[in-house]
Amino acid sequence: MTDFGRIRGDFPLLSRRVHGRPLIYLDNAATTQLPEPVLRAVEEQYRQWQANIHRGVHWLSEQSTARVESVRRTVADFLGAAESAEIIFTSGATESVNLVARAASESLLREGDTVAATVMEHHSNLIPWQEACRRSGARLRLIPLTPCGELDMEAAERVFSERPKLLAVTAVSNVLGTVNPIARLTKAAHDAGALVFVDAAQQMRHGRVDVRKWDCDFLCFSGHKMLAPTGIGVLYGKRELLERLPPVAFGGGMVEEVTEYRADWDVLPFRFEAGTRNIAGIIGLGAAIGYIRSIGGEAVYGREAELLRQTEAVLRERPYLKILGTPGERAGAVTFNIRGLPAYDAARLLDQLGVAVRSGHHCAQPLLRALGLESAVRVSPAFYNTEEELCTLGAALDRVAALPGIRHG
């Protein structure tokens, strides 16, 4: 059995104190902490291997290139991609979505076409599609939610009947934690003739991603939500589709040949990687995947699910809270409001007690609005959190909710 108490010791930041109290970090849906092996890998990259890649003929450049390409293979294998050429390194999920949306607006989408997305998308998987539609003249159709916070599959059928060119959908809601039926949605979208873009940013620590099983056409995620540094992310795309997309960023490293007035693009994946990539970030991502694998993906996913169940239990015991959504399957996050207390104040008060949670619209304003809210408090544990921390969260909530001046009515 995995000793998660020992594993917690791998994360130096978790032993910090804030406001004179032990830090209880429950904002993992935004960013996770880095374990020692990832920190060491990043430092080692700078100390021993720092050189630009793909361009130099010298030893250090070749070594650095080999290390980056090794991570590309690791990511391809981690996602179940057919080949590493289908893995493009980006700065994060946001850049990945923007890349495909921009390229699609210049190639796949025409005036009068439909693009489908959902009300629960993070802004990063919504605004790029709004812009792609604006540029191409396509229409955006959003799949609404059921009252319990799941995608309304009957409404989805109606959207699919408009034969959209593409469906953009998150695997897991960053607000409600709703786990979407990606394989089922992909099948329905494909039957309607649509390509499928999956935002897996919130999925990566909670369950296995297998792009071939899901059969999605594109998928993206960010490293910083799965123990890697910030500023590194991935875009996966099926080779035949990536071949059809034009590059949208231009510069060094993405060309075969350049003459005075034109350029020929390099092969995949390099044609989508203009400029110098975040090399240390890529190395860190490789180390993060290695770390998760060393614990065992299933053990991590199981622990995440267990801690989320306990989080929900802690919150449900407190009648002064209103929890958002009751999806059949939830992962990663539970979001709520303390009745009578604005979310910002609740999160700030919890912070004074050492508990780090997030408040606001969580970059999902259409979703919050659909729920009749402006903001809410989100708790998102990771496998390195403990049951004791969740008990402390409960006690901190009680202390906040009992303050004079708050009327829970």
């Binding site: 406001h19 004179g20 207390l341 104040d345 008060l349 004074q352 303050l403 001046g405 708050i406």
Partner: protein
């Protein structure tokens, strides 16, 4: 010492007697409940303080050389701050409000309960109040 400074000293005393930043925040929330409510029809776009992360509305008036103001916010802590500012400025001569030197936030730990964006926002609120007083 004018009345504004006298109230300011009183408030500083109240906050210095409190415990850690949680206690200070909790006290601001108590004070927020005492802030007179701004009627919804007064929460107009013109009354919104620009640059604030929280929504803040200020209804400022000059009445016979005296500064009057009411305010509201979508966060309790800012309402608490508005309560403090109202206690100092409301009903005071316009010239005194414009010239007042605000040391309340420096001499207490109130600002530590805010993150940087809200700290700036409170600065904008104070500027807006004092500019109105100076211009009327």
């Amino acid at each position: 010492m004018d009345e504004i400074e006298s109230v300011q000293r009183e408030l500083i005393g109240e906050f210095q007697g409190l415990g850690d930043s949680f206690e200070q925040y909790a006290y601001l929330i108590e004070l927020a409940a005492l802030l007179p409510q701004l009627p919804p029809e007064k929460k107009t776009a013109e009354r919104v303080v620009k640059g604030c992360q929280s929504h803040v509305w200020l209804d400022m008036r000059a009445e016979n050389g005296v500064f009057r103001f009411d305010g509201d916010s979508d966060t309790f802590i800012i309402k608490g701050v508005l309560y403090l500012l109202r206690r100092m400025f409301d009903g005071q001569p316009l010239a005194d409000v414009a010239a007042a030197k605000l040391t309340l936030f420096e001499e207490t730990e109130i600002m530590e309960t805010f993150e940087t964006d809200r700290q700036k926002g409170i600065g904008y609120v104070v500027q807006t109040l004092q500019r109105f007083a100076a211009e009327h």
